[in-house]
């Protein structure tokens, strides 16, 4: 490989880095915040998206979102929203506020609770579940840019990824989306997967990485619940809980 090419590539990297700065602009505009669960929450996760043939649908997926900050402005508080209700791709309006015009990259929010109920089906067998995760998870340094022009309205979407609940790894690049282990946790065979049953079930072949304290399927789901929040589709954020 020619050194000249390496230095050319480095120059591109350098000048690209200079373009990452926030843009200052005069005036102010409005940011409307939406919460969207995508098709996976509104329509369900089809079997062909799961690695083990189960399919999942949600009867409710109620999220409480707090402390939304975009462009340095805190959004007004809002009610919990059931994002399993279909919106045709629009998402659910959460709040809005006037913010300075410019390109904002410092957005953050907190998902303080997730109340989820639904069912999973495979080969005529159905398991239902109703779980509540009320340990607030903060999301910051999100990978998105919200461009606000003077006098205009911009959108900021908090995207919730339900399939993370069914990941078989907390660390893999491409975790499998599976349900079998959760289905097998229904040891009393009443077709309802309870929290108590999950707490009694080991995580089997799931890969928690180096995360401590993830030693049963309930703690597994709690750990995955802390990864649900994204922005504008696939934008990632740093997450934190009160414990860390």
């Amino acid at each position: 490989m020619k050194p000249r090419f390496v230095c050319l590539l480095s120059a591109v990297l350098f000048f690209s880095s200079l373009c990452a700065c926030d843009d200052e602009a005069g005036g102010q505009g409005t940011v409307s915040v939406f919460v969207y669960g995508e098709d996976f929450i509104e329509l369900g996760i089809p079997a062909d998206e799961m690695a083990d043939g189960w399919s999942v649908t949600f009867d409710r997926f109620v999220v409480t979102v707090e402390d939304v900050v975009v462009g340095g402005v805190s959004m007004p508080p809002s009610e919990a929203i059931d994002i399993s209700i279909e919106t045709g791709g629009v998402g659910h309006s959460l709040s809005s506020a006037v913010v300075p015009a410019g390109t904002h990259t410092d957005s953050s929010f907190v998902i303080s609770s997730v109340d989820v109920a639904g069912s999973a089906t495979k080969d005529g067998i159905t398991r239902t579940f109703a779980w509540v995760f009320d340990d607030p998870t903060g999301y910051a340094a999100c990978e998105t840019t919200t461009a606000v022009r003077d006098g205009a309205t911009a959108e900021f979407e908090i995207t919730v990824h339900a399939d993370h609940f069914f990941y078989d790894s907390l660390v893999a690049d491409e975790p499998a989306v599976v349900f079998q282990a959760l289905a097998d946790a229904d040891t009393d065979a009443d077709d309802v997967i309870s929290r108590a049953e999950l707490e009694a079930a080991g995580i089997g072949s799931y890969d928690p990485g180096s995360a401590g304290g993830v030693d049963n399927l309930w703690s597994w789901l709690v750990a995955q619940s802390r990864t649900l929040g994204h922005v504008d589709g696939e934008g990632h954020c740093d997450s934190y809980t009160q414990s860390n």
């Binding site: 490989m1 090419f5 390496v6 230095c7 590539l9 480095s10 120059a11 990297l13 350098f14 690209s16 880095s17 200079l18 990452a20 998870t137 999301y139 990978e143 993370h164 990941y167 790894s169 907390l170 660390v171 893999a172 690049d173 491409e174 975790p175 080991g202 995580i203 089997g204 072949s205 890969d207 928690p208 990485g209 180096s210 802390r226 990864t227 929040g229 994204h230 990632h236 954020c237 740093d238 997450s239």
Partner: protein, 266 residues
């Protein structure tokens, strides 16, 4: 030159560009240190079930050892942005790095036996002078092109052999591990202040005993009970129902950062 070398070279060169562009002194201070296998911690351990376990081999396939800093390096924000361009920092999503910024690396594919290879040099790492906190690497699979045709490690991540003894009953075991493709081990302890004049070497250690918590990588494995035919020989490997729980338990421990570390020694 391979593509990874190109990217690595470009990152280092970009740091130079950043400094020139900012009117700073010159290029970021770097240090090159050899990386050696440290087999001093693979001695016998006693498990939670009372087995004394001694390894006769601990062969692991991995690639691309990288070194991370907890905060920002001395080169500050521009480096931070450049590093983010190549390797993202912590994010709330599986598969993303959970440690600090990567500012050093030893690129390559390796098969190491922590019992037989003590002191073997893997190569020379290049690091930005900084205060380091952790190291990461990617679990691989034993490459057929680099191993003998009948090598049992081919296609697998790790192959460990040894003995487990309790109450004068000895079981000779073989453990085969398959890590998911691209599975990165994040956060092996690496506490070091490396200045541009640092000398010595970096020692990559595997330890069956978690030195912080006192547990072992073999905990929860009842070797004698799993040796169903009582012939004193046990194989724990993926896809075998009779040893599934033991395999899962071992693989989880094997893939945590609790059993790996890097140490800088002058």
């Amino acid at each position: 030159m391979r593509s990874r070398d190109v990217i690595g070279g470009a990152v280092v060169c970009a740091v130079v560009w950043a400094f020139v562009g900012c009117g700073q002194a010159s290029e970021a201070p770097r240090v090159q240190l050899p990386v050696l296998v440290d087999g001093t911690a693979v001695g016998a351990v006693t498990t939670d079930l009372g087995y004394e376990v001694e390894l006769s081999s601990a062969r692991v396939a991995f690639s691309n050892l990288v070194f991370t800093v907890a905060g920002e390096v001395h080169t500050a924000s521009i480096w931070h942005r450049l590093a983010d361009t190549i390797i993202p920092t912590a994010h709330a999503h599986p598969g993303h790095y959970q440690g600090g910024d990567v500012t050093g690396e030893l690129v390559g594919d390796y098969v190491v036996d922590w019992v037989a290879d003590d002191g073997r040099e893997l190569g020379v790492a290049t690091l930005i002078a900084a205060s380091y906190s952790a190291a990461n690497f990617t679990f691989g699979r034993g490459p057929a092109e680099a191993l003998d045709g009948d090598d049992a490690l081919i296609g697998h991540t790790a192959l460990l052999t040894g003995t487990a003894t309790r109450d004068n009953h000895l079981v000779s075991f073989t453990i085969v591990v398959d890590s998911p493709e691209g599975r990165v081990l994040v956060g092996a302890p690496f506490e070091a202040e490396l200045g541009e004049n640092a000398t010595g070497a970096l020692y990559l250690r595997f330890s069956p005993l978690d030195p912080l918590e006192g547990d072992t990588i073999f905990d929860a494995i009842d070797f004698a009970a799993l040796d169903a035919d009582d012939d004193g020989i046990l194989s724990i490997e993926p896809g075998v129902a009779a040893v599934e729980d033991a395999y899962n338990s071992f693989r989880r421990a094997f893939q945590t950062h609790d059993h790996y570390s890097v140490e800088h020694q002058e």
